[in-house]
Symmetry: C2
Subunit: 112 residues, 2 copies
DNA sequence: TCCATAATTCAACGATAGTTGAAATAAATG
DNA sequence: CATTTATTTCAACTATCGTTGAATTATGGA
């Protein structure tokens, strides 16, 4: 993964409104949520939300599909996971004992 | 974890220079690196690096200690892991089958 | 004590980001 | 085909960010 891609994705998440939307979509799971439903849940103007979704979308963190007159947004799990892996990559450089501090994280993340 | 804390940490990482520094420190491991050594490795002015380290530090992603006339920076693993966990939290809400897309991530992250 | 090295602080500048209101597009319904 | 609903686009404005140069603090050695 390129560092530019990583910063683009992190920037997309680095704002309260967008992070909140992102987490709503994480909670919603693979089925996703319609833009209008997100706007209601988050309590933000439609055009503001549209801009937020657009940024998350261009960063590759979410994707959209049309269903009737709604547009449904959902997480792009592969890209999300790519980003998280990027942040811990090379943390031990082959020396397994070096990054003990991170080892309990993987167990905490093993929610499924 | 509060959403404000999360956005602060993500903002700190959401810039190429700071992300590069952060990853150098991830590679360096718990012993960390002196500010001067980072500046040489990254090829950035001392004051620019200082500002970058300051932002990462205030975000809680790194910590510093003095050793002689050098100041050594290193990753705050606990806070780093807290952030990553926050991003995937509530991804399945008890339904184990929902977030299969994320399940292979934890294995990829199990570097140690 | 004086000097060199290591790193930070401060002010200022240009660049970029976030929100808002108004207008536009797209699809479904009568 | 006109209307309603859902969402996006555009332009404009303010606020915040990132880097730079100059000055400052802190430590170790001659």
């Amino acid at each position: 993964m390129e560092i530019k891609t990583a910063t683009q994705r992190l920037s997309a998440l680095a704002q309260e409104g967008r992070l909140f939307v992102f987490r709503e979509l994480v909670k919603a799971g693979p089925n996703g949520l319609a833009a209008g439903d997100i706007a209601k849940a988050v309590g933000v103007a439609a055009n503001t939300l549209s801009a937020q979704l657009n940024i998350l979308s261009h960063a590759g963190l979410i994707q959209s599909r049309r269903e009737g007159r709604s547009i449904i947004y959902s997480i792009q799990y592969h890209h999300m996971s790519e980003l998280l892996v990027y942040l811990v990559k090379d943390c031990c450089q082959g020396h397994e004992d070096i990054c003990g501090p991170l080892s309990d994280m993987t167990t905490k993340m093993a929610c499924c």
